[in-house]
Amino acid sequence: MTGLPRFIALRLFHLIPVVLGVTFLVFTMLKLVPGDPAIAILGIRATPEAIANIREALGLDRPFLVQYVSFLGNLLRGNLGESLVAKQPVLQMVLERLPATLSLVAMSGVITAVLTVPPAVLAARNKDRPLDHAIRGTFIFGLAIPSFWLGIILMLIFSLKLHLFPVSGFGNTWSERLHHLVLPSFTVALALSAILIRNLRAGVLEVLRADYVRTARAKGLSERAVMLRHVMRNALLSTVTIFGVNLAFLIGGTVVVETVFSLPGLGAMLVTAVYQRDYPVVQGITLVFAILIILVNLLVDLTYVALDPRVTFD
């Protein structure tokens, strides 16, 4: 096997220990519950019978390693356990909620790009001038804004006062959903672009100093052509990497934003499960988020290879 298939196979191979570790961590999380999880769920007045039932459902009546191996075996069969509250398979609940979260992540990603690229390029091209300071200052502010608060303020202004967007929920048709997602996505995106803009500005600055940019200018290319064909293409490379690194941040941000806007996604479900002490659901969602990030990082690596002709698969 050579080239791309070999590269992908190798990457997948290297993922095995990480995925195993991730499952182990999620599994051992349950051991952090102080005392008996069954009593934590049911309360101290529960009947011994009910406690025994919960212990059996959580597999607590067996030795630690046996519990882990059967947890892994169930995972391989696509069994994430059963919700203690809804009495439904966790996987089914996750799949029902996944579309809302993925749409939010996708739309936030697009808005992040729009919010990050133009100001970063402007700041870099006006390095150390007032415009640069103004843009960087604005984003220092952005970094300190709690996203749940920003969401509430946006909701107050654009939904309650101006009636431009729905207050909460997800809608049924595509256009309705898009409309519902605008404010939540913007909320997630602003926090992320506050982090990214610094990196992209540094990336553009570095490329602007490169020899090939000077050559491009020297041979009389228009500034527009230099920026689009030479600077942006190269500066985006580093941004793709940084985007991958911060993806976990983006996905983490959806949890609180989904709760603020009552979006029926995984994050909102996670918070509800915490209130209800529905441990299998908490474990399931945590695991799904981790797997999601591992997969997208793989995708980012592949994009990087595709964007940069200098990187080979060997």
């Binding site: 934590a40 709690p146 976990a248 994050g267 002490r277």
Partner: protein, 288 residues
């Protein structure tokens, strides 16, 4: 021994021009000034307001700003200015305490892993790989779910995850520093590992960790207030800012200031630490 000292001194000592640079780093000074105001306001809260942050007054609910209540009152008639002042104590504590412990533990782990290498390093880096596969926020919520809600368990959850960033940063620096001549020299003259680590390695690797810790304070304040907002951190009637935002949410259409003001307090505190971090990065940058 004396010779090794002589070699090391100039590298470890703070160059005189840093003090000159300090005066030219306005962001650092503005940040420190802003933070000083917040700290003094939090410490002197009882002098600045006659109200207790938890004193109910059901005859004066949802009041706008007035001479008696400079920032108005909430749904229980509690003075918002007093709640913001006392809340600063909680949120500053969250930011600083959460960060300090992870800074110390993470840097220690990174120092040992980078210096000794071998199996210890491999095991630690495997753990790091696994933990960074999770979204930080989701993992912390998951841990709080298991440990139980409340401020104390929130700290434990943040500590369990937060040391990772410092271990990574410091380890990377140590890998570079441990091959330098002054460390080799110290080893050759038979200095014990502990002395080398503390006196020669640590001072040369800790700067990036300290610069990052300022951003981390902001992130931890945001994290702590987010968890409290979700009902998983500080519990009522604590005047924690995130919790206050959550309590004001129900009255958004009629008493928007209940949620808006604590949020502003978070932003201002965050900006203070961000400015300090930005300035520190400039001042401590080697060679510039």
């Amino acid at each position: 021994m004396a010779q090794a000292e002589a070699v090391v001194r100039p590298i470890v000592a703070v160059p005189a021009n840093r003090w000159a640079r300090l005066r030219r780093a306005p962001t650092l000074l503005i940040g420190i000034a802003l933070l000083a105001i917040i700290v003094v306001a939090a410490a002197a809260a009882p002098l600045l307001t006659p109200y207790s942050p938890s004193a109910l007054d059901m005859r004066h609910t949802f009041e706008g700003p007035s001479r008696a209540h400079p920032l108005g009152t909430d749904n229980f008639g509690r003075d918002l200015f007093a709640r913001l002042l006392y809340g600063a104590r909680i949120d500053l504590m969250i930011g600083v305490f959460a960060t300090l412990v992870t800074l110390i533990v993470g840097s220690g782990v990174g120092l040992l892993a980078g210096y000794y290498g071998g199996r210890l390093d491999r095991v630690i880096m495997r753990i790091v790989d696994i933990v960074v596969a999770f979204p930080f926020f989701v993992l912390v919520i998951g841990l709080v779910a298991m440990l139980g809600t409340g401020l104390r368990n929130m700290f434990v959850a943040i500590w369990l995850v937060g040391w990772i960033s410092y271990a990574r940063v410091v380890r990377g620096e140590v890998l570079f520093v441990r091959t330098r001549e002054y460390v080799e020299a110290a080893r050759v003259i038979g200095m014990p590992d502990r002395t080398i680590l503390v006196r020669h390695v640590l001072p040369n690797v800790i700067t990036p960790a300290i610069v990052f810790s300022m951003t981390d304070v902001v992130l931890n304040i945001l994290l702590g207030s987010s968890l409290s907002f979700l009902g998983l951190g500080a519990q009522p009637p604590a005047p924690e800012w995130g919790l206050m935002i959550a309590e004001g949410r129900t009255f958004l259409a009629t008493a928007w200031w209940m949620s808006a003001l604590p949020g502003l307090a978070i932003v201002i505190t965050g900006v203070a630490f961000s400015l300090i971090g930005d300035g520190l990065a400039d001042v401590l940058r080697p060679g510039g």
